[in-house]
């Protein structure tokens, strides 16, 4: 097997000090390989979101190390972290986080805008990705006028626009009815299979987790069980 994309060793994260100290993660070891689809499953407060935030380099661990593509991440400076998050990661959130008054296209090209890509290229790449997700006809609509499924497809389009190697999805179907949710799941797993994009899904939904090739169960800041299913 190739080198892991993420290599996590003895990961600790605690908040506060003294009596108010709360240990969200208590020594997590984990390898994620390119093309994996990993489900991080756990109840709320189990530490699953903390783990995702650390993997996505949104937060720094209290102890332990995270290697990304063989490189230690704790030594990276803010600018390098920003660049990695912008170009390597894609984010899909339960609450969408679309700017309601801006058009779908404007929402989708946000990562390109942040990266400083020319507005012409933003438009071309934005329309390409919207076409891929069958949203091209909604490009000029305001985000607020979309249905839930369309909103989540827009969010996936936004996550895809920088051709990321990893997509972090935090309860991607949490706000959708089961039929729409299933469609969004299809899109995500299709991207995983066809384009080889690594998928890291945080969920407490067993059905969604079951579709992933690997599942880790987290409880009280520790991995309690790992399931691997030959995809």
């Amino acid at each position: 097997m190739s080198n892991p994309l993420f290599s996590v060793r003895n990961l600790h994260k605690s908040y506060g000090t003294g009596e108010t100290r709360f240990d969200a993660l208590k020594g997590v070891d984990l390898d994620i390989y390119e093309g994996d689809s990993l489900a991080i499953v756990g109840k709320s407060g189990s530490g699953k979101s903390t783990l995702m935030h650390l993997l996505a380099l949104l937060d720094r661990p209290s102890e332990g190390e995270i290697q990304l593509q063989g490189k230690e991440t704790s030594t990276l400076k803010g600018r390098q972290l920003n660049a990695i998050r912008n170009s390597t990661f894609g984010f899909v959130f339960q609450q969408f986080f679309l700017s309601p008054r801006e058009s779908v296209l404007e929402n989708v090209v946000l990562p390109l805008k942040i990266a400083g890509v020319s507005s012409r290229e933003q438009k071309v790449r934005g329309m390409n990705v919207l076409e891929q997700l069958e949203l091209a006809d909604k490009a000029k609509n305001k985000a607020t006028n979309l249905s839930g499924g369309q909103k989540q497809r827009s969010v996936i389009a936004r996550a895809l626009i920088n051709n990321p190697s990893v997509i972090f999805a935090d309860e991607p179907t949490g706000n959708l009815d089961s039929a729409t949710g299933a469609k969004v799941e299809d899109i995500l797993f299709d991207l995983n299979k066809r384009q080889g994009i690594t998928l890291v899904v945080v969920t407490h939904d067993e059905e969604l987790a079951a579709r992933c090739s690997r599942r880790i169960y987290i409880s009280d800041g520790e991995i309690v069980r790992t399931e691997e299913v030959a995809a």
């Binding site: 935030h53 996505a56 949104l58 937060d59 803010g78 600018r79 972290l81 920003n82 660049a83 990695i84 998050r85 912008n86 170009s87 984010f91 959130f93 609450q95 986080f97 700017s99 008054r101 946000l110 990562p111 805008k113 942040i114 990266a115 400083g116 507005s119």
Partner: protein, 437 residues
Amino acid sequence: MRFSSIAGQSAKNAFRSKSRTTLTVIAIFIGAFTLTITSGIGTGINRYIDSTIASIGAEDVLTVTKISTTDVEVADGPQEYSPDQLQAETMRPGPGQGSVTVESMTQADFDILQSLDHVLMVEPVKAVTVNFIEGPSEVPYIVQLGAFVEGMQLTLAEGEQLNDASSTYEVAIAESYLDALGFSSAAEAIGKSVDFGFDDAEGNAQIVSAQVVAVTQPGFGPGADNAVPNAALKDALFAAESPSTLSPGEQEFSTATLWFDVENMTTEQIDELQAEIEAAGYNSTSTADQLGTFTAVIDAIIMVLNAFAIIALIAAGFGIVNTLFMSVQERTREIGLMKAMGLASGRVFLLFSMEAVVIGLLGSLIGVGVGMGIGSVVSNVLSRTVFSDLAGLQLVAFDLTSVLTVIVIVVSIAFVAGAFPAIKAARKDPIESLRYE
């Protein structure tokens, strides 16, 4: 993120909450409007003073008198007579006009002054008086002759500046004499001849004719309520009025005009020259001395007015702080998302501070625009009514520098005000922000 797209986004964000932004812009507008008007008044008055300075005296000229050895103090009550003293009326116009007691100067004094460094030329001021002026109406009127030295610019209503090099007898007459002398308009007077009546050294009444080359406007200058002769006319009058028994070296004068090498001198050197003249026993007055206190008072008043405008702007600045704090609060999740997607904190700061700059720029442009419009209209009305006696005075005037300064000041205040909320936004933790419901 590119600066241009940040600026565009900030402008867009500023109008997300239209009513809130509009109210803040109005607050800025009031401050900018006030500052425009007050600085406009400053510009207007100073421009008027500057234009009259040119008619009061040239920049490279000092007016020199000899300090009386018997009584150096300026006359303040009755003074004892000394045969050497001349009672001279000062040429100083405007505030502080009065009489000082000075000692007479002769060619020997001029030689002393001439020997000082940087002095180009010393000429006695030839005090000449005429009894009357008479025009086509053939009615004589009492008139004073104004002093004119090379380099002065009379405030003209019509005609050209006097030519001191010309051998023709030229005169500039005040606008207020036109009717009396029998001219229907300023233009009609130009090129016409007027007569001056005077007494020669023997006491015989004489008449001399001079050509009107200019009509002057009322103001501070020597042309205010006088007739101003050119060098040829003045010399002729002086020669006729002086006792012929005196040789040129014995003639006595109360005042001399001293030209110095202004182009090659620093302000300090001019001060030194004045100190040297003082040390030699003479008193000197420059144009700046004559107007110094006057402009200082006006500058102080304008400064107080500007301070009020700045206070209004600071109040408006708090409006910006408030608006942007609300904006940051509302957009917490958006900020978190953009930071998660790799937007640097510095750019977040810029995004919000630029929003403040947009509000400030908008308020200042409208404020300055409306201020200039209303200021010009009011000033035109005033100069036709209240200030009609002070020709050339535009109470509110604008120049590019002061208008740009107002805009820069307002935008700077907006930027500083916007900095506090912008720092708050830049410091937001993306995880906390995304959790925010």
